[in-house]
């Protein structure tokens, strides 16, 4: 959509188109198949039958970053892995979202003091949209994070000019709900 991005006035019809696009995006989030440490086990539980992430349209992990919209970073990111995480994120196409899952990825977790090769939070290398704390977070917590992300994706402005004021943003949040 290139040149039209965020260039139309923020009025009713444009908003309607934006929210239709947002609804489409948020209802078919494709996460990337990606797991690092212990938190990945909880993430797998979220994908599996008991919790069934597919209810929210995010249950089809893609095998390549080029097809995915969301990277859930579940587990300790160490110096060796950080390079790979950054490369995978760079390979994803816009719009892309990041969920930091677990204490390690939110800021070092158990390794914050003596972790000689741990990146103290994945937000040091890639921008994070949703932080899900816990060691590990329960599956419900990750699902809550994904629901929060859905809200965020849903109120994305594609064509309409970016909101300038806080009141403006509040109006959009209310419209997106």
């Amino acid at each position: 959509m290139g040149v039209l991005n965020n260039s139309l006035p923020d009025i009713g019809p444009v908003r309607a188109v934006d929210s239709a696009i947002g609804w489409g995006r948020k209802s078919s989030i494709w996460p990337m198949t990606f797991g690092i440490a212990c938190c990945a086990i909880e993430m797998m539980a979220v994908y599996a039958a008991t919790f069934d992430l597919d209810r929210f349209g995010a249950g089809v992990p893609r095998a390549t970053p080029r097809q995915s919209d969301l990277i859930i970073v579940p587990g300790t990111v160490n110096a060796k892995m950080a390079v790979r995480v950054k490369r995978l994120y760079d390979q994803m196409s816009e719009p892309r979202y990041v969920i930091a899952m677990g204490a390690c990825v939110c800021g070092g977790g158990p390794y914050v003091k003596w972790g000689y090769n741990t990146v103290k939070g994945v937000h040091k290398i890639i921008p994070v949209d949703i932080f899900v704390p816990g060691c590990p977070p329960r599956p419900e917590a990750l699902m809550d994070g994904i629901l929060k992300l859905r809200e965020k994706v849903g109120r994305n402005q594609v064509f309409a000019r970016q909101a300038q004021t806080a009141a403006d943003m509040d109006g959009r949040y209310a419209a997106a709900k």
């Binding site: 110096a79 060796k80 950080a82 390079v83 950054k86 800021g107 070092g108 914050v112 003091k113 972790g115 000689y116 090769n117 741990t118 990146v119 103290k120 937000h123 040091k124 290398i125 890639i126 921008p127």
Partner: protein, 229 residues
Amino acid sequence: MNETDIHSKLAGAVVSGVGALDESAKDPFVVVDPGSLVPAVTFLKNDADCRMEMLNCVTAVEREDCIEVVYHLSSVTHRHSLTLKTRVERPAGGTHESWIPEVPSVAALYASADWHEREQWDLLGVRFTDHPDHRRILLPEEWIGHPLRKDYVYPHEHGGMPLDLDAVPLYERDEATPSEPAAPRPSGTPLVQPPNPNSDRPDAGGVAPADSDGDLRSIKPGSNDGGGH
């Protein structure tokens, strides 16, 4: 057999370098000279009464005056086990930069020793001579230093990835004015952990005590000045 019998068989078979059995510990252990390690382990493995088929693990301990490599051997056939230790004395002023202890490898006898010895090399800097594949096992190949040594200094970043708690995120850095890479620690700096404002752990570093007797964290680097950090 119990440990006492195994030890007496071992002491009888290997001519020299086998110490007394220390039974004060919960797991009685024998200290063996590094030079006698391979004959002793070979004997324990092959002797019909000992038959130590299994090397459970190889670990290492850094002590004030030595580095100790610990071997847990056990026999599935006879259901007994023995702990072997070998010690390499620390030379005066030996730090992780200037002193790499050498111990003969037992990887030719036990396949399990291969990776375990590589791990000790990686984290504690014990070199195992005649090891078939003497590389780091966990950390990246180009990592500097051996992190479980007491005088290890933590890096600020590795391969461009920030490792500090208060590092500026990569995507917020000013591309136009690239920051200087963290300077390597100059040779001759006391090897002390920098004080950490986020921790009140008593041994979290800080200023080195004035008298340096027996305190590993105040050891000055040895005479070698090859490379910084």
